[in-house]
Every structure is written in C-alpha cells, then in structure tokens.
Symmetry: C2
Subunit: 599 residues, 2 copies
C-alpha cells in the first residue's frame, strides 16, 4: 500500500488561478486568508494527512469500529489521531472565530478537507458531520444553544451527528415517525434512527445528536417535522456534563467500506424518552435539514475527489514500478514499466484529468459559498448563492460517480494485485461506493438539479454558466496553439449540447415531468462532464499565462495544458452523446409492467 | 438477500430466435440437442441453480475458503453441492460423449453456465477451470493422456487448474520462470505460481494442474514455454491414485470478492521437483495456453452477464417492494414502490436491456464455436472460427465491464441498504470486479482485438459484421412502427461510427501502433455497445414476428421490443461519441513525463 502526498501544487494552482484566492481574501471576514497563511495551513495539513491519518487508513479497514457493551471501540490509533486533530485546531478552520474557529474561507477549508478525505475517508466523516451540526446551530440555534454547544463543536471537543433516516424513511424524509412531545422547556424524543454516521464512538466525552422528529398533531409529510438537539450527555448551564440522556447505539452496520466509521442504529427514549431541545420553530425541521445538507453535500461531493486522488497516487506509483512486457518502440530487451503502455497510461491520465477537473469544480463552488456569505452587496451575494444552489447537486452527483469510476480504474491498473485486499486499491473502491448513496442518492441529486434548481428564474443560473462557457470559447480561439484547438472543439460541442439539453428540460419540466425525470441523471452527468471541461480549459489558459510570465513552474503549466487536452479529447468529446438519452422521454422506461420485468 | 430464478424465457428466446437452435441441432455431433432435451436440461439446471447453488452464495462470501494444514476447507455446503453437481452430470454437458460428456452444443451449455455463474459465481469457477483443462487435453493431449485424465475431468470426479501467472509474469506470460527438467518419461517441475483458482480444495480426490514452465536452454520469452500435466496425486496406469506429488498450496489470497473460490499460491517442487508430463511438444506452451484461454475468455465474459443478471433480479425485487415518496402522477396518499420512480426505473431498465444484449451476444459467440467445430464444410467452419476469434475479446471485455457497472447500479437501487453487506447487493459488486482483470485484463483484450483480430484479412471479419448490421437496418426500415424507428436511428449511427473507427484503426495500426493502442479500449467499448444494439434490434424483429404468428407470448414479445427500444435510446445512442477518443491518437496520453504526473 502506498502513502498519501497532498497534491499541493495543483491545490494551490486552483486556489490562486481559478478561485482567485487573493480577491477572496479581500472580502470582509476572510482577511486572515493571506497567501502566507494559506501556504502554512496547507503545508501543515499535508503533514498531518500524510503522517498521521494516511497510515491509519488500512488499519481502520481491517479492524473496523465495533460495538462493545454500551460504547463503540474505534480502531487502534483513531482516538489519538482525533485528539491530535482537535489539538491542531483543524476541526473549525472554516468556522467563526467567535466560537473558536479560524475563519478561513470554505475554498481553503475544502483543500484541507480533501486531504483528510484522501488520507482516511472513514476518519474524515466525523468532522464532516460535526460541521453540518455547526451550520444548523449557527444559523437557527438560539443564543443560549449557541453558547452551550457551538464552541465545543467548533473546536471538536464534542462531535455532532445528523439523525434523519428511519427504516421506512430514506429518500422520503417526510415518512419519518420519531416522536417529540413537549415537556416544559424541552421535549421527550422517542424513535429509531438508522445509518447514523459516528452515532457513537470513543473520540470525545459528548456527542450532540441533531434529530428530526414529529410533534403530536403535526401535519403529515415534511411540513410536520422539527429539529432537536439531543445530547448524549445533558449539558449543564455552566457547560459541564450532566446526566446520561436516554439514547444509545443498538448496533453497527456491516458495510462494504468505510469500516472505521461507525454507522449506528440509534434508539431514542427506550426509558422515559430522550431529552431534546427544539432548534428553530416547530415544523421547520426540513429547512434546518437543508441547511445541514447543503454543506454536507458539498463535502460528500468532495469525497469523490478525495478517494479518487488517493487511488490515483497508488495506481501511479504501481505503474511506475511494475514491469511487464516491452512498450511499443522501447529499445533493449528489458521489460518496461507499465506506465509506458498506452492503455495503462490512458487509465492514469483519465484519473489525473478527472481529478483535476473535480478539484477546480469543487473549490469553485466552495468559493461561491464564501462569496454568498461575504460579498459586500446583496446582488453579488444572491448571485453567488444561486450558483451554489445550482452546482451542489452537480458536484455531489458527478464527483461521487467519478469517485467510483476512478477507484475502479485504480483497481484495474493493478491487475490481479488490485483484487487482493492487502494491496489497498480495493479498499478505495469499496470506500468510494457509499458517496453516490448518502446525503441524498445521486438520483435525488439529479431530480433536485432538474426539478428545483434548473427552473428557478427560468433557468437564469444555468444560462449564466453556459454564457461563461461560450465566452471562454472565444478566449480559446484566440490562442494559436494546436493543444488549445484540441480543447476548444470538444468544449464548444459540449456547451452546445448542455444548452440544448437545458432548453429541452425547461420546455418539458412542467408539461411532462416524467420525461424530465427520466433524463435527469444523464443531464447531471452531461452538466458535470461539460463543466469539468470548462474548468480544465480555464486552467489551461491560466497555465499558458503563467508560462508566459514565469518560467519557474513551466513543467507544471505544460502538464496542466496536456491534461486539459486529454480531458477534452478523451472525456469531454463523447459527452454530447448524452443529449439523446436526456431527451428520449419516458415512454420506453415505462413500457413494461413491473410484474413483467423479469425475463 | 433474494434468491435466483433462471430467466428461462429469455434464454430460450435467444437460443431459438437468435442462435437458431433447431439448425444447430442438425449439425453432426449435436443431434442430441433436440428442443425437448434442451427444455429438460434448462429446467433441471434452473432447479439446481436456484435450490442448491444460490442459497450457498452468501454462505461462501462470509465463510470463505481457508487454508487448514495442508489442505483447503471450502465453505459449508460447497463440497456437497459439488458432489450433487457431478452426480447430476453437469460438469461435462458440452463435452465429448466418448469421455462421458453429454455432447450438448456450447450455445446450450452457456445458458446452463450462466445459471451457475448467477447463482454462485465462486462455485462456478471450479468447473470453468476444469473445462479449460479438458479443452487443452482433448486437442493436444496424447491418447494415453486422454485415457488417463480426460474421463475423470469430464465427469468432474477430478478438477483442473491453469497455472500461468508468477509474481513477475502476469500479462507478460513470456517472463515466467518455472522450470521443467526432463527425467526419463516425465519432467521435474519447480517454481511458484500465483492466482491459481481452485489450486487446492476439498471437492475431489485429485486435482490435475496444467502448468506452464520453461525447459533448460529454451529460448527466452513465450517461445520457450511448454505445458505440463502436474497431478496432485500421480495416476497409475490403471487410473488409480498413486503417490502425492511434490506440490502444495502455500497460501490463499484475501480477495475483494469470490471468497468461496480458493485462489492459491502454488509451490511446485520444494523437495525433488514435482513430476509433470509434457502436453504437446516442447515450446508449444503458448499455443496450448490459447486453447485453454479462448474458451475461458468466453466463460469469463459470461460471468459479467451472470452476475449482472443476479444483481438485476435482486434490485428488481427490492424496487417492487420498497416504498418511498409518491410517484409522479400517482393517485392517493400512499407512498409508491420505487420501481415507479423514473430514475429507479431507468436504472432497472438499463440492467435489463444490457443483460439481454449480453445474453444474445454470448450465446451467439458460443453457437459460432459449435459451428467452427461442427459445420460440414471447411469454409463454413473457418468463417465461424473467424467470428469467434474476433468476438472473444469483445465479449470478454465488454461484458465484464458491464458486469461491474450493472452490479454498481444494483447497489445504487438499494440506496443505503445496498451498502450493507447483509443485503447481498454489495457482494455482487465485489464479485463482479474480478472479471475485467483475469483471463487477460480488459486492456489486453482491447489490444488483442485491435492488434491481432482486427487486421486479419484486412479486417474481413469485422467488415462482414458491419455489413450484417447494415442489412438489418433495411429490415428495420421496412417496419411501420415508431418503436422500430426509435431503434433504427441509433443503430444506424452506431454502425456508421463502428465502420469509421474500424477504417481508422486499419489505416493507423501499422504506421502508428501507439495511437491505435491508445484508442483500443474505447474501440472495444464501441464495438460491444453497437453489437449489443444489433443483437437487441434483431431480437425486436424476431419478437415482432412472433407476435404476428403466435399470441401466446405476446407480453414477452412486447417487452422485448420495448427493451430493445430502451437500449437504443439510452445505451446505444451515446456510443458514437466514442469515435472521438478512439481516433484522438496518443499525443495527449504521452505528453507528460511519468515523473511529473503527480500533482
């Protein structure tokens, strides 16, 4: 198994050239993100990821978290790593300094988070869930709730969880049955929640569960749902821990991957009902959930990149070392490293190019999240928010699908060794498979994109992006270089296809929602692939400008241009073919009665 | 976890309408394959697969085969199932009756084998390997070798293995180092072989290892390799078992999937050298290997279908039962089974359509294998063999890639439950991942297709298939039905693209082999997808003819036409987009020095 080295050069390139870090750092509240600070933060994070988290990844996969008595035993080394994580101040790097955070932009935080996800995906899930709880409490918690819980969640002294799912209520959150009955200043919570990531663990003294439940007499469906703080240990007014609350993990799931992350079945209120505190107003639970979800979907989307980057590093190292056969045109009698064989190189370049496209996309969305909060004028904030809303499902759906596909290539590059667990490539493939499922399946993301995000303002947010892609086409056309011509052609065609698909969707959404839904997943894939191509083309132009001005990183710039060209030729060029399934309608889908679908 | 019900209706449809079973059964030696016999065989096999093998699939995954002392303990129930398998006469159904086989056509045998692979992939690998040994001994064994070994391999009383790989010799078979030194009428074999499927087990009294090794003074590379019979127990002239040979399994691999199948590291000749008997002549090992491999590649390709069919049945059952949300246009307040949601239906139909295309392709290739052996005149045999040679890499590469993609959809349809091992969907996903790797990685298949099979007779075999696809276009055009128009358009474009890609390959193969190799995998994928579309279009036409003549299976015929239409609109239509990566050349692939490929 190979270690992990953070791809600092590309991370920094994306932050500087695509995100515009210097401009971002001029926004109110983000002044601490100076170039020097960011350099230091990324370097330290790279060290922690490579030296502390990465070596535990395989340990966690083999040992798994296990339920022992009333608690969970995490794998050897994880608890200590978490302590170091908290001591290093990593948990709250994008959080409000008023609560102990470092106030760094989300764009920078995402680069750091990418490192945790690459190094040890199962470990990284704990802070990701805590962050979701922080987001909800920051935005709709009472001052007293913020005082009691936020500081310790931000530092990571306590962790947070998100309790939505019940056996009968998965994608259909409105079907949940957990009950919350008012009892003075609090509520009594009863019910069973499943798939609760880090629902129980041994990292910290307390766990703050955020639980969706239904109050008596509340309307059915999503309108009757409220959000509650349900701490594992009750918290006294002075912040000290009080009595154990009436909740427990009753079992842990045996999962395909992310074995070190304890996925718990949580039982609330077996005795008198767990004590819970309302967050926001009764019936506002879904709004609160979306507050938690939006950022969680951003970070889950990033998981696709994180795990694919790890798989790439491992496959590249293997391909440079492993020798089989003689490469075409190789001289001498010796066998060649397989990185020199065209099909192996194609797989590696596919991974590299896809990862870099995902990185540019993810950090760009994160920067828009910063802008949506920090821009000085309201229209700029609104525009940034519209972009975030549009792109979150694309990021989540496309990047997590790519995570599975790229880790599969990682296995393939290893040949037979890839199928052997000790090699480690298979773990990435298993770990990656969860990301298209949780935080809203990718099917749900596609519907969110097409049914909710796309039609807002008659598609204004999409059309703005398509216009930007067209504008870039003109820039590409102005460059006299065959590599840029090779990029421009496929990008133009993909933009054209995305425009046509968007028009079709806007025209059919209301009149034939089944047809729109039938094409939604292919639309999301076209969107992600085309936008990834746009990001890579932009990167190539920036790299060219760097080449012209500065000779020091000429090799990086040349590699970026070649990678963008590869992306255009191999990944982007076939994408317009998706226009046909997007616009095919639902007739063939529903032509066969489900009872006759067996052969 | 769901059981397995053999898709007898579709299997029979493919055999009757696509393969032409009645015509096949008129060939010399295949007369036993009467319609009634085939019906009885398929029905019995379906029973055995569903009742005996399928229930063991999960047991095998959990218990795994383990090395215990000198032997391997297979999971509970497997040894008994194997005994029933042998007693039922299943092992040799496509083998020569002279050796105890049933002499059924490969086309029929493949339907049966598909059932084993669906029901219990790990179990099915043992007879698949035995079959490869049978093939080699039948074709190049001496009469005495055939007398001693073949009958017991055909009945399954003994099993066979294929020993090619060594740590330094995977795809590069020519790099193997195992040694064979002549000692009178036999050889002494020494060396280590890895990834030996069923290299050791407790099913039978003896195991016949076929081992590639190098004789002293033999030329380097593949020309110096010979094939040897190396039995676990030596066989006396009267067929009784003699001394234990000097070979043993030293460890079993911990694999991502197919846990019940023991994958052994075999050590030969730790003491005095294992006794081995030359098969064919010295230096003919590679030819022998290809004899074993060609059929093994056919059956491994079929594994993609087998596992995808199992995953489909499980996902369909779940989607009909699981209720979440209300489907578009559903009346009432109840939640709908998720099979009614467009994106879930799209995934299910993708599985169904892909599986049916794979089935038609696989049985067609198997029937050509029959014709290549049995046709009365030599040109007909040669034509069938040319088709087999061309299609084997397509079948192996495309179907095994589809196996991974379809089992991944199977996981996705289950949502969070898909990630939980107890559900069983994840096992199919793990099991499927081996098939693109072994018996020649799919990269090797693509090179075999483009570099060896395609250029034979200047592409005559491919051009013949493209001409057949064009001829079908005219048939489709003659049908006055919008479903057939929807099939015709994408098939025409895919045929066009396949023709253009083929011309490009033929033009570039010699002059720019790197460029051809760079596009080989995309070419194979286009080939498989387009040919699958051709198979489905043919099926739709046959179904329509059935509808006209016979009302009894009208629902099946209507479903087949709808499935073919879905395939055309959703799977086939985007395929011509692959023409761009196929013809992009190798420049962007090799633009970056491997040492600079890290980011």
């Amino acid at each position: 198994m190979t270690g992990y080295t953070a791809p600092l050069a590309d991370m920094r390139f994306v932050l500087d050239e695509i995100v515009g870090l210097d401009e971002l750092a001029r926004l109110p509240g983000l002044e601490s993100a100076s170039s020097d600070t960011v350099t230091a933060v990324l370097a330290e994070a790279a060290k922690f990821a490579g030296q502390v988290l990465a070596p535990l990844n395989r340990v966690g996969d083999r040992q798994r978290s296990v339920l022992a008595g009333d608690g969970v035993k995490t794998p050897d080394g994880f608890k200590d790593a978490y302590r170091q994580f908290v001591d290093g101040g990593w948990n709250g790097i994008m959080c409000d300094p008023a609560y102990g955070g470092q106030g760094l932009p989300w764009a920078v935080a995402l680069a750091v988070l990418e490192m945790w996800e690459s190094a040890n995906l199962a470990f990284s899930l704990c802070p990701v869930l805590t962050q979701a709880a922080i987001e909800a409490l920051t935005q709709i918690g009472t001052p007293e709730q913020r005082r009691l819980y936020l500081h310790k969640l931000v530092t990571g002294e306590w962790t947070g969880t998100m309790n939505l799912t019940e056996p009968q209520a998965g994608s259909d959150v409105g079907a949940l049955k957990a009950r919350a009955v008012k009892a003075g200043d609090h509520y009594r919570i009863t019910g069973t929640k499943i798939f609760i990531t880090y629902g129980e663990h041994d990292y910290t003294d307390n766990i703050i569960h955020l639980v969706l439940a239904r109050t008596p007499g509340a309307p059915p469906g999503t309108k009757g749902i409220s959000l509650f703080i349900v701490p594992k240990f009750l918290v006294n007014a002075d912040g000290s821990l009080g009595a154990r609350n009436d909740l427990r993990a009753v079992s842990l799931e045996h999962k395909l991957g992310i074995h070190a992350s304890p996925t718990a079945v949580m039982s609330y209120g077996d005795k008198d009902g767990a004590i819970g505190y309302l967050v926001g107003a009764e019936g506002e639970g879904m709004r609160a959930m979306f507050l938690m979800m939006n950022n969680a979907r951003l970070t889950v989307g990033l998981e696709g990149l994180g795990i694919a980057e790890r798989a790439y590093q491992q496959a590249l190292a293997y391909a440079k070392e492993r020798r089989q056969g003689r490469a075409i045109g190789a001289s001498g009698a010796d066998s060649s490293p397989i990185v020199l064989h065209p099909d192996v190189r194609r797989m590696l370049m596919t991974m590299k190019a896809t990862n870099e496209a995902m990185r540019a996309l993810a950090y760009t969305v994160a920067a828009a999240l910063d802008r949506a909060k920090r821009e000085r004028d309201a229209p700029a904030r609104a525009a940034a928010q519209a972009f975030v809303d549009l792109m979150i499902p694309v990021l989540k759906g496309w990047c997590t699908d790519m995570g599975v596909e790229m880790t599969s290539l990682g296995v393939q590059i290893h040949g037979g060794m890839g199928y052997i667990e000790e090699t480690g490539a298979a773990q990435h493939f298993r770990d990656a498979r969860i990301a298209p499922i949780y935080e809203g399946t990718n099917g749900i993301q596609a519907l969110d994109l097409v049914m909710r995000k796309l039609p807002r303002d008659d598609g204004a947010a999409v059309k703005k992006e398509i216009a930007a892609m067209r504008a870039l086409d003109r820039e590409l056309g102005a460059v006299n270089d065959p590599a840029f011509a090779a990029i421009r052609g496929p990008l133009g065609q993909a933009t054209q296809a995305l425009g046509a698909a968007t028009e079709w969707m806007l025209a059919h959404l209301a009149a034939d929602p089944k047809a729109a839904a039938a094409g939604a997943s292919a639309y999301l894939r076209l969107f992600g692939t085309a936008y990834g191509g746009y990001m890579m083309a932009k990167s190539a132009l920036k790299a060219r400008a760097r080449q012209a001005h500065n000779g020091s990183d000429a090799a990086f710039a040349a590699a970026k241009i070649a990678t963008a060209r590869f992306y255009a030729e191999q990944i982007l060029a076939p994408a317009p073919g998706l226009l046909a399934p997007i616009t095919a309608g639902a007739e063939a889908l529903f032509a066969i009665d489900p009872e006759l679908m067996s052969a």
